[in-house]
């Protein structure tokens, strides 16, 4: 389906079906009529001096939320992570390499300046400038060039085919800023809200943008975004009515939120996972039988039940979650099977090997996953030494640097992104370091293809390759939990992240 997105956008946009598509999703989540007015306070997991108004530097959910409040992207996600028309009225391509984009007419920045193609060119191409310090510089490398062909028209050329550009451009990092803007002490976007106060590490206050390009939206008068890093405090703040919306409710707090008559939980099954990485550059961890042994040794049910209190989706050692349009449901679920693990281990001749395994608070739940694995491994004669290392600096000093480490992977908008960033042999973040020529070839083929069915088939095979051969064990995908005041309406999950993939601001309304 993702493959269809581009077509979808361009076709429907040409047909002027944009409003209908958006209305449909709005109607589904909010049966009653949205009202205007209201002011809410939202608490996210973190706030720090690193808070930024520069979309390119967005680093965590608080940043993403803030950026979606203030800016708009060329496209927007829907519940299936498809890129829907945003500032772009239409996006057209024939080869998945050269894209022509037509912008919506009559859109204005908060300072009154009308949106033009130059703004978009600047917003996209700045990611390639190292000085920008963009978090998505690696994704932006595929932007070979962009040029305005008219006040509202531009051409984007990619370095290679990528049919999922519309979905990629819906990401918060690619929202549109004013041409030439380098100063981000305040925000000037085209988003649903206008920045009124921004104090890094303290708060962001935004008020309704009366000239938002979606008529009637947004609904709230004012949103105050703060960070409460302590989960208990965050839940307390929700329950005491000091904030109306929080994200990252831990499974342990679910009972408390559910017990409150005034509050509700939103579950968002996501593609976020914690994986065991078996490096391909080590003779032991690259052994196919060892890899299989570890995969069979993973007690997914226990992990889901004990570590996530059920708020997780069982994974099948490949990075595409079951609810994803590209999911290959034909791969049988790998069970927890110590006997098969023992068989593979013996086959690999590695029964008595002793291996260190690196876990850290930084990689969500990895400490407990590591100990569970260690316990089961001990039963089949494999000695794993769990090395717990500090969260600070884990990514730079340990992750991928030892034969066995745990890592976290964020949900990517598209299967293509997921595979390209973390599984392609040339990728900088090829976490396992595996090199599968067939995988690389198929991935390139999928990108070039414009046929949805063909793409789905290829992605299915890629999933199987990873499931079977890649040194990665993916036990479960995490379900995100947001808590909110019952009077807050218009919410629906977008699997990219909490708070509707961080885009809640323009959808929610206050029923009071």
């Amino acid at each position: 389906m993702t493959g269809a997105t581009s077509m979808d956008v361009s076709r429907r946009a040409l047909l002027g079906g944009l409003a209908a598509g958006l209305a449909a999703s709005g109607v589904r989540a909010a049966p009653s009529t949205p009202r205007h007015g209201g002011s809410i306070r939202v608490a996210s997991i973190a706030t720090s001096t690193a808070d930024t108004l520069d979309p390119a530097k967005g680093n965590n959910s608080t940043d993403y939320m803030r950026h979606y409040m203030l800016y708009s992207g060329l496209t927007q996600y829907d519940g299936q992570l498809r890129g829907r028309p945003g500032l772009a009225e239409r996006m057209e391509t024939r080869d998945n390499v050269n894209w022509s984009i037509r912008l919506r007419r009559g859109v204005h920045f908060h300072n009154g300046k009308p949106l033009s193609a130059e703004d978009v060119v600047w917003s996209l191409m700045r990611h390639r400038d190292p000085k920008t310090g963009s978090k998505v510089a690696n994704i932006a490398e595929q932007f070979a060039g962009a040029r305005a062909t008219g006040p509202l028209d531009l051409q984007v050329r990619l370095t290679g085919p990528n049919p999922e550009l519309p979905a990629i451009l819906a990401g918060s990092h690619f929202v549109i800023i004013e041409n030439g803007r380098r100063d981000f002490s305040t925000a000037n976007g085209t988003g649903p809200y206008i920045c009124r106060a921004f104090a890094p590490g303290i708060r962001t206050v935004v008020t309704r943008n009366p000239n938002y390009w979606k008529p009637g939206r947004p609904y709230l008068d004012r949103i105050e975004l703060i960070g409460i890093s302590d989960e208990i405090s965050r839940v307390n703040a929700l329950l005491s009515g000091d904030v109306q919306m929080i994200n990252a409710v831990s499974p342990g707090s679910v009972k408390r939120v559910r017990a409150s008559a005034a509050h509700q939980l939103m579950e968002t099954p996501s593609g976020i996972y914690t994986d065991l990485i078996m490096r391909a550059d080590n003779p032991v961890t690259s052994n196919p039988d060892f890899i299989l042994a570890m995969k069979y040794l993973t007690d997914r049910e226990l992990i889901k039940r004990a570590l996530f209190r059920g708020y997780a989706t069982i994974g099948n050692d490949q990075p595409i979650p079951p609810f994803h349009p590209m999911y290959n449901s034909n791969i049988p679920q790998r069970p927890f099977d110590p006997e098969r693990a023992r068989f593979h281990l013996r086959k690999a001749g590695l029964q008595n090997v002793r291996l260190p395994i690196y876990v850290s608070q930084a990689a969500n739940a990895s400490v407990d996953m590591g100990s569970i694995l260690q316990e089961h491994a001990a039963q089949i004669g494999l000695k794993l030494a769990v090395n717990r290392v500090p969260g600070d600096g884990y990514w730079a000093t340990h992750w991928m640097k030892h034969p066995l480490t745990y890592g976290n992977n964020n949900a990517r908008a598209t299967a293509d992104l997921t595979f390209t960033l973390n599984y392609q042999s040339q990728a900088a973040m090829n976490t396992t370091g595996w090199h599968n020529p067939r995988f690389d070839r198929l991935l390139a083929e999928a990108r070039a293809s414009t046929d949805i069915a063909r793409r789905k088939a290829i992605f299915g095979e890629l999933q199987w390759l990873v499931h079977e051969y890649c040194g990665v064990s993916i036990p479960a995908f995490i379900t995100l939990l947001d808590g909110y005041d019952r009077r807050l309406k218009g919410l629906f999950p977008i699997p990219l992240g909490g708070f509707m993939g961080y885009t809640f601001a323009e959808y929610v309304w206050w029923d009071a």
């Binding site: 306070r41 608490a43 720090s48 001096t49 690193a50 808070d51 930024t52 680093n59 190292p130 000085k131 310090g133 978090k135 998505v136 510089a137 690696n138 106060a197 104090a199 890094p200 590490g201 303290i202 708060r203 703060i226 960070g227 409460i228 890093s229 302590d230 208990i232 405090s233 307390n236 703040a237 329950l239 005491s240 009515g241 000091d242 904030v243 600070d392 600096g393 990514w395 730079a396 000093t397 900088a428 973040m429």
Partner: protein, 328 residues
Amino acid sequence: MSGSASAQRPTWIAPLRLIAARIGAALLTLLLVSMVIFAISGLLPGDAAQEALGQGATAGQIAALRHEMGLDQPGPVRYVRWLGGIVKGDPGTSIVANQPVSKIISERLPNTLRLAALTSMVAVPLAFLIGVFSAIARGRRLDRALNVLTLSMVALPEFLVATLAVLLFAVKLRWLPSIALVPQEPTLGEFLRAYTMPVISLAVIVVAQMARMIRAAIIAELDRPYVEMARLKGVRPGRLIFRHVLPNAIGPIVNAMALSLSYLFGGAIIVETIFSYPGLASLMVNAVTSRDMPLLQACAMIFCATYLLLVLIADTVAILANPQLRKG
């Protein structure tokens, strides 16, 4: 020693000299502190360039940023440059927030000061009363009751106390907000509501420490002969404490207060975290995790300088309160 010696010089010379010596020592300590802080912050693994750019950064990007931040300079050079900046009141630019450190701190420092001031206004009189009363009632029932009270105040981890308070007063009773977010232009009511719980949570710890030290200071004085003499003069307990004992115990008492109050700065981390209060301590934690060295160093310097300043004030009060030191 003798009266004749001090009569030769104006009486304010002696205390001034003592105080000047203390200031000198404090400044020297502060210099040492600055070295330690700089050295310790250099021990932190990872570097700001890496942290700022995240996992996806290329080596070229990191090198460019490192150069831009001056991280490729040798340590002593960076220290001297940094110290020079501090002295001139410019602690540099936050490498994470890309703003002057002074600006970031100027947003937080008033918060920390306000919380500390409010807490002191509650804690100091309370601790004083508890300390004095338990000293007067030494060994008697009131003393033992107050002892158990102060003990139980510090018996539990502060995050638990604060969380309990939130559960009770914010979640259950809804009397007070669970987070200490003060509106831009608060009314007195909003202001007090926002601060009540953080202040109480902090005060609990500080009161207990202070009260116990004040009690000890007073009891040490109560054993001195002049107290017996005062009793034998027919001085009643109230006058005994306030007119006779306190002027002599003021040195240790202000010292105890200085030590406890310095806790309100660096020690407020947990209360700041629980109540999402944007103070300096949480800013510093932030700086540690994001490897924002200029910010981290500036915060640490502020904490240490505050401590030294408080101790200096305590010393000065002690010098001025003691006629032997005051008059040479």
